[in-house]
């Protein structure tokens, strides 16, 4: 029982991590490999605001979210826009940006900048305290994650189905040419999409990071998790992302309970590879048959 509940919690964290990536790829077909980096950056900026600038928690969060959103838009506007359409270059470029950011954060001694190394960076939890139900202890932060995740998903769903911008984004995702013909500006939409995607990454960071600490290594694992969830669930499908996140969460929790965390990675990577081979568009993906394989 405990396993299932923790599995769901973990699953929800995975889903939150993956939403940003899935959104950007689903809308503008841009694999944003800088997703993990943006996640980490949000954490560090928030920490800096709290500790170095002494700002209250909420204000720091808002500021860092704004910064991260702008960063994402900037990435698109200055870099990605030039490699749009060449998928390999997009991956390489965004991954290079991610590497530059993540490793840059670890720099030491450049102009007195002490790198962010070590486990000392912690973001305070939103609320302390635990809940005990049916013999299982869950802390409030984790419950908050589940609730927050659900609300966020619901809001995203509302946004893309009922707001003008959201509908334009969906139109672009379904048929770019038709959307262009109707006057929807593809680049502008991609900018917005990337901005929203970055904000989602930031939100995920804010909510999840208090559970542990803020470090650079998580940048890579977040990226891998996001890719895993999106691939398994199907790129561009909300339902798939959610279900895949939950499945992955439960599976990894079970795996940890049985065999230890070492085999976790085997499971994740093995699943990614398996799904890519057998069903590249994921469990719920909408890619056409002829597009994904010969």
């Amino acid at each position: 029982m405990e396993v299932i509940i923790y599995g769901i919690v973990n699953g929800m964290t995975f889903v939150l991590m993956a939403i940003g990536f899935s959104f950007v790829y689903g809308i503008s077909r841009l694999p944003n490999f800088a997703h993990g980096a943006l996640y980490v950056v949000t954490g560090f900026i928030t920490w800096s605001f709290i500790n170095n600038a002494g700002l209250p928690y909420l204000l720091s969060i808002i500021f860092s979210l704004i910064i991260v959103t702008l960063a994402g838009t900037a990435i698109y506007q200055f870099v990605m826009i030039r490699v749009r359409g060449m998928p390999i270059s997009e991956i390489i470029v965004s991954f290079a940006i991610a590497l530059a950011i993540l490793e840059g954060l670890r720099l030491q001694g450049i102009g007195g900048f002490k790198g962010f190394i070590g486990p000392g960076y912690v973001l305070p939890r939103f609320m302390d305290g635990v809940l005990e139900t049916s013999g299982v202890t869950i802390d409030f932060q984790r419950l908050f994650i589940i609730g927050f995740g659900l609300i966020l998903l619901f809001l995203m769903w509302l946004f893309t189905h009922y707001s003008k911008i959201g509908l334009s984004l969906r139109a672009m995702a379904q048929n770019e040419r038709a959307a262009l013909m109707l006057g929807i500006n593809s680049d502008f939409m991609a900018n917005i999409a990337l901005g929203i995607g970055s904000a989602l990454a930031g939100l995920a960071a804010i909510v999840i990071m208090p559970l542990g600490n803020v470090n650079c290594e998580s940048g890579y694992s977040v990226l891998t998790t996001a890719i895993a969830v999106c691939v398994i669930g199907g790129l561009g499908s909300w339902m798939g992302t959610i279900l895949a996140g939950l499945i992955l969460g439960i599976a990894t929790t079970i795996m940890s309970a049985i065999g230890g965390t070492m085999w976790n990675n085997v499971l994740i990577f093995g699943l990614i590879i398996l799904i890519l081979i057998v069903r590249p568009s994921g469990l719920f993906g909408k890619q056409k048959e002829l597009e994904e394989r010969v």
């Binding site: 530059a100 490793e103 840059g104 670890r106 990675n265």
Partner: protein, 346 residues
């Protein structure tokens, strides 16, 4: 008829760049009409300088440290050539360089460590057997298109690392050591240079043959190749085997040159660096990526003192090249060599 003006003077007027072939050779659609020794020299010079340069390089390097750097650069160069061949000539974007190195390295290393086989046996077995293993394992991935194939191949090294660590295979985190080295460091260095030159010129030759046209066809438009009664999976297998051979050889080489085999062979660096070298050096030319690797690798050694700044610089260089000079160094150089440019009034 055309006035050749300096670029600055034409700033406010219509202008275009005019490119003229240097008048040394007569060129018709790729066929050369050679008329004099001067022309022969002109054609041979770039290739000869590459060969001679590489052969002389180990002799002029100051000391053992730099020779090791050269050897490692050679490894990266081989990986870059392999990536370039597969990605630009055949359309198989395989970001699994680390996997090839790891497989080649582990096979040769294990053969030497457990079975005490000598180096002149382990390297060939590692190369050919490793390539066989890589091709077989990647076989189910072959029908996948572009980006999916790239992501899958990228994941393989991670999966293998996890399995080795989790199952504590091949001594797990400690790795296998010591592995017998080359009897003489010169043999090692010249071996890798030789294989590098062999790969570059060999693959260029191969791509010039009719099968090379089929490779280009697959990259261009695989449905049409299918309709031409060719089993593209089989052709992809051939190409993948050749690419893996190069990669696994590099792995076997690294194992013996460093005397150690461990999960560090599956490092992401081996997958990413060849791509950077390829893009910087000129995708599609096979020699360009090798050149790129030979530049980037020592450069990253030089920057080791700066710690993480190294990686940041890598990435910035890579991004810069992709955005502003996607044709790469070698293409740029060869363009300058073959053609002169003037600003010309329109």
């Amino acid at each position: 008829m055309f006035e050749t003006l300096r670029g600055e003077e034409l700033k406010n007027q219509e202008r275009r760049k005019e490119r003229l072939d240097r008048g040394i050779k007569a060129r018709t659609e790729g066929l050369y009409a050679i008329q004099s020794w001067r022309e022969v020299l002109y054609l041979i010079a770039p290739r000869a300088s590459l060969i001679v340069g590489l052969l002389i390089l180990p002799l002029v390097l100051p000391g053992l440290y730099w020779q090791r750097v050269l050897a490692l650069a050679g490894v990266y160069a081989l990986l870059a050539v392999s990536f370039d061949f597969l990605a630009e000539r055949v359309g198989l974007v395989c970001i699994g360089g680390a996997f090839m190195i790891g497989v080649g390295g582990y096979i040769s290393g294990a053969l030497n460590y457990y079975l005490k086989l000598p180096i002149f046996l382990t390297i060939p077995i590692g190369t050919f057997g490793g390539a066989l293993l890589c091709t077989l394992l990647w076989l189910p991935c072959l029908p996948l298109r572009g980006i999916y194939f790239a992501v899958v191949t990228f994941m393989f090294p991670f999966l293998t690392t996890s399995i080795i660590l989790a199952g504590n295979l091949f001594e797990g985190t400690e790795g296998l050591s010591p592995i017998v080295g080359f009897p003489n460091i010169w043999i090692g260095i010249y071996l890798i240079i030789f294989i590098l030159l062999l790969s570059i010129f060999g693959l260029r030759r191969l791509c010039g043959e009719d099968i090379g046209v089929v490779f280009s066809g697959i990259k261009d438009n695989d449905q049409a190749v299918l309709a031409s009664a060719i089993n593209i999976t089989r052709i992809k297998v051939y190409a993948l085997y050749i690419g893996s051979m190069i990669g696994c050889f590099s792995g076997a080489f690294v194992a013996h040159f460093s005397g150690f085999v461990g999960v560090s062979l599956f490092a992401v660096d081996f997958s990413i660096m060849p791509i950077a070298a390829c893009i910087m050096g000129g995708p599609g030319t096979l020699a360009g990526p090798a050149l790129g690797a030979l530049i980037l690798s020592p450069l990253s050694e030089l920057l080791r003192g700066f710690g993480q700044l190294r990686v940041v610089l890598y990435c910035l260089v890579l991004i810069g090249f992709i955005l502003f000079k996607p044709e790469g160094l070698l293409n740029w150089i060869s363009r300058k060599y073959h053609q002169t440019e003037h600003w010309v009034k329109v």
